[in-house]
C-alpha cells in the first residue's frame, strides 16, 4: 500500500519513463546507439551556457501558456484556442514595438499590457461563443487559431512588410529599446522569468486559496451541481478563458520580444499545443508544470543539435514528447490504472482524527 501512494505521488514521471524506454527501443531498432543519442541531446541542451540559457528562454512562454491552461482545464474547458491567443499577444506587442515612441520601460509596460489584453479578448471570444452561441470551445478555438495566423500573415506580407521589400517571413527587427533586455547575448530575458514566477504564484494561489479557483474546480467536475450551489457558469467560463488568454498573450509577447526580435510567420511555434501536453502530463498539478515545461524545452532544444552530431533527424525530440503524451493518454489518468488518487488511497494514509461511524 505504501508503494501505491508513492507511485501516485510521482505519477507524472511514469509515462516519461515509459516513453524513454520506448524511444530507446526505437533507436536500437534503427541501429543508433541510445547512449550516444542521449549524450548528444544533453550536449545540445546543456552543452554550453548559451544552450542552457536557450532552454530556459524557451521554457518561459511554454510555462506561461501552461499556467493559463491550468485554469481552463480546472474549469473543464479545452482551450485549444490558446495557440491563437499567443499569436494575438505577439501581434499586439509587435504593434507597440514597431510604432510607439517612448522610453524603454514605458514601451515594455505597454507591450506587456496590450499583449495580455489581446490574448484575453481573443480567448473571451471563444468563451462567449461557447456560453452564448453554444459553440464548443475546441471548434471555436480552432477557428480563432486560423484567423489569428491568417491575420499575422496578412500583416507581415502587407502593412508591416519591411520597406525594402525584404524578407517575406517577418517584420523588420524591433528597436533595441522595445525589446526585453537579454542576459549575456542569449535569448533569455531575466524579466520574463520574473513574470513567469509571479504568474506561477498567482495561479497556484488562485487555484488553492481563492473562492474563484474553487468555483472553477466545481464547474469542471459537475457543472449542474456547481450551478445549483450558486456558481455562475457563464461568468466563470469566460473569466477562466480570459485569464488563460492573458497569460498566453504574455507568452506571445515574450516570444517576439526576447526569443525573436520581430514578428514572424508561425510566431508561436506550436507552443500552445505543447502547453496542452505539458498540463496533461502534469496531471493538472500546478507545481509539476514548471518542471515538465523545462523538461520538454530541454528535450526539444537538445534534439536540434542532434542532427549535427548523429545522422538522426532533429524530429526525435518531437517524437519523444509526442510518445510521452501518447503514453499519458494511454494510461489515462492514474485513476484508470486503479492506482489513482482515489478516495481509498487517501484514506489509507495514516490518519489521527477519530470519528464515530
Amino acid at each position: 500500500m505504501r508503494i501505491r501512494t508513492w507511485i501516485v505521488r510521482i505519477w507524472p514521471l511514469v509515462p516519461i519513463l515509459a516513453a524513454l524506454l520506448f524511444t530507446i527501443g526505437l533507436l536500437v531498432l534503427f541501429g543508433a546507439d541510445p547512449v550516444e543519442v542521449f549524450q548528444a541531446m544533453w550536449q545540445g541542451a546543456f552543452g554550453t551556457q548559451d544552450k542552457t540559457l536557450s532552454v530556459v528562454a524557451f521554457t518561459i512562454p511554454l510555462l506561461l501558456s501552461s499556467l493559463g491552461l491550468l485554469l481552463t482545464f480546472t474549469a473543464g474547458l479545452w482551450n485549444i484556442g490558446i495557440e491563437g491567443q499567443i499569436v494575438m499577444g505577439a501581434v499586439a506587442a509587435s504593434w507597440v514595438a514597431l510604432f510607439m515612441d517612448a522610453t524603454s520601460p514605458v514601451l515594455i509596460a505597454v507591450e506587456v499590457i496590450l499583449a495580455m489584453l489581446a490574448g484575453a479578448l481573443w480567448a473571451g471570444v471563444a468563451g462567449i461563443l461557447k456560453t452564448r452561441g453554444g459553440v464548443h470551445e475546441i471548434f471555436g478555438g480552432l477557428a480563432l487559431n486560423s484567423l489569428a495566423i491568417i491575420f499575422t500573415n496578412y500583416l507581415i506580407s502587407g502593412p508591416w512588410q519591411p520597406p525594402e521589400g525584404g524578407s517575406f517571413f517577418g517584420t523588420v527587427p524591433f528597436r533595441e529599446i522595445s525589446q526585453l533586455s537579454r542576459f549575456a547575448d542569449s535569448r533569455f530575458a531575466p524579466f520574463s522569468l520574473l513574470v513567469a514566477m509571479v504568474a506561477l504564484v498567482m495561479v497556484f494561489v488562485a487555484l488553492r486559496g481563492t473562492t474563484w479557483g474553487l468555483k472553477l474546480k466545481a464547474l469542471g467536475q459537475n457543472p449542474r451541481s456547481a450551478f445549483l450551489l450558486g456558481v455562475s457558469s457563464e461568468r466563470e467560463t469566460i473569466l477562466a478563458m480570459m485569464f488563460c488568454g492573458a497569460l498566453a498573450g504574455l507568452a506571445g509577447a515574450v516570444r517576439v520580444l526576447s526569443w525573436y526580435d520581430n514578428l514572424k510567420q508561425n510566431i508561436s511555434g506550436g507552443i500552445g499545443y505543447l502547453a496542452l501536453l505539458v498540463v496533461m502530463l502534469a496531471a493538472y498539478r500546478t507545481l509539476w508544470v514548471p518542471l515538465i515545461a523545462f523538461f520538454f524545452s530541454a528535450v526539444l532544444n537538445g534534439a536540434i543539435t542532434l542532427q549535427l552530431r548523429t545522422q538522426l533527424h532533429s524530429s526525435l525530440g518531437g517524437i519523444l514528447t509526442g510518445v510521452m503524451v501518447l503514453f499519458v493518454l494511454l494510461f489515462g489518468s492514474s485513476k484508470a490504472l486503479g492506482i489513482g488518487k482515489s478516495s481509498e488511497d487517501e484514506a489509507l494514509e495514516p490518519d489521527t482524527s477519530e470519528i464515530e461511524s
Binding site: 486559496g209 481563492t210 473562492t211 474563484w212 474553487l214 468555483k215 474546480k217 466545481a218 467536475q221 459537475n222 449542474r224 451541481s225 456547481a226 450551478f227 445549483l228 450551489l229 450558486g230 456558481v231 455562475s232 478516495s343 481509498e344 487517501e346 484514506a347 489509507l348 494514509e349 490518519d351 482524527s353 477519530e354 470519528i355 464515530e356 461511524s357
Partner: protein, 487 residues
Amino acid sequence: MRVEIRDIRKYFGSVKANDGITLTLEEGHIYGVLGENGAGKSTLMKILSGYQPPDSGEILLNGQPHTFDSPLSALKNGVGMLYQDPHDIPPFSIVDNFLLGRDKRLRLNYRAAESELKELSSKYGFALDIQAHVDSLSLGERQQLELVRLLAGGAEVLILDEPTTGISAEQKDVLFNSMRKLAREEGKILLLVSHKLEEVQELCDHAFILRRGKYVGEMEIPCPNEKLVEMMFGQVPPRSERPTFELGDPMLELRDVNISTYRLSVKNLNLSVRAGEIFGLAGLEGSGQRLLIQACAGLVRPESGQIILDGQDITSWSYHKTRAVNVAYVAAGRLEEGLVASLSLTEHVVLAQRETDFFVDWAASGQDAQSRIEHYQIVGRPDSTAEELSGGNQQRLLFGLLWNKLKLILLEHPTRGLDVRSTNYIWNLLYQRRQDGTAIIFISPDLDEIIERSDRIAVFSGGVMSRIVDAKTTSVKEIGHMIGGQL
C-alpha cells in the same frame, strides 16, 4: 448457489465500514440488509459484487473461495448488483447499453440482442421501449434495463441497493413481482438493501442487520418492526411529534401560472403557502409537481402567470436571483444535482455560502464544516469528499448547506435514503425553521410521509393540480385515488 461471506473487513482510514462480517445466503431466498446510514451496507454489497476489494475476508460460492477484481468478473461468477446510484452511460440507445461490455466479437449482434432483451423484459413484466435512449428513461426504467442486463449476463445472485428510492409505486410493484419470481421460481438469491421496513416486510423472508460495520443479528421476516429498529439502532428511537405551529402571512403565491415543456404542460396553478407552512405535493413522477417547484426556484420559466414571494414578484427570475432572496432548492439527485463528488465537505461549505470572500479562509471554513457535521450528524470529516459519504450522509450534507433564515425551501424527496432516525432528525430541523417564517414545499413518493409531515397537500396527475386537502383530515386512500386521476 450458496454464498458465504466470511469475516469481511474494509477500513477507510479510521472508519471501519465493514468490521468482520460473516453471512450465509441460500438459494431461493430474498434477504433484506438493514442498518442505519453509514452502517456499511453499500460497502459490503460492493465488495460482494466486485466493485471494490475487501481488506481481508473471503467470499465462497458453493464452497469455493472466489476473489472478484471487477464487477464484470463477479458477474461472470454469477453475482450482479444494481447500485444505489444508477451507473449506466446515458447517450446510448437501450440496445447499445445492453450490448455494452457483453458482446466480445467485433461485430455487434443487434438482432439477437434485441430479441433477448425483449424476451427477458417481457418475462419479468418490464415494458422497455427498445429504441429509446437511456437518458430519456426514468430512474425506474433504467433500473429495469440494468436488471435485464445483469440477468442476461448470468446473474444468480442479485443485489439491489436501495432500489425503490426515486421510482414510482407501479414500478416498485413491477420490480417486487419480478424479484419474487426470480427467487421463488428460478431459485436465485436476492439481496435488498432498504430503509423502508414495510418493503422489507412485504418482500423478504430473512433480514440481516448491520450496525457500525458489524453484523448484529438476523431475523425471520415477517417480524415486528420494533424488533428490527431496535437491532438497527441499539434502541427504539422515539417517534417525533409534529409540533403545532401558528401559521403566518402568505409567503408564496402562484397566480394562474402556466408552465409548459416539450413533455408536459401544467395549467392554471393557483396556490398560496403561508409562512411556516409545510406543503406536500404528491403524484406520480412526471405529473407536474416538479415543474411547480422548479418554477418557484427559477429553474424553469413559466409561460404566463405570476409568482409572488413575500410581496415581491419573482416570476421569471433566474435561479441565482431567487436564491439571493432566500429561496432554497434541494434536488432529488445527490451527486448529480447538488453535490460535487470529488470536492470535500469544507469545499462545499465554502461554495454554498451566502457571501463568498475572494480568499478562502480554510481554517475557519474547516471549523464551519466541522460544526455542520456535528449539527447535521454527518458521518465524515471536513476533508472527506462527497463521494466518500454514505448515501444518507450525502443527503444530510445537502441539508447542512442550506442557509439560515430562508423564506422558502423547495425539496424533492427530502428523506430519500435516510434511515428512520435520520428522517425524524431532518424533519425536526425543518420544523425548527418554521420559527423563521420559512415556508416549505416538498415532493415525496411516500404518501405516509406527505400526510404525516404536511399541513396541506395537493396532488398532481397528468399535469393537473388537484384541490388542496388538509393533511389532518385526509387519508392515504383519498390521496391514492387522487393520484389515480380522481381529482
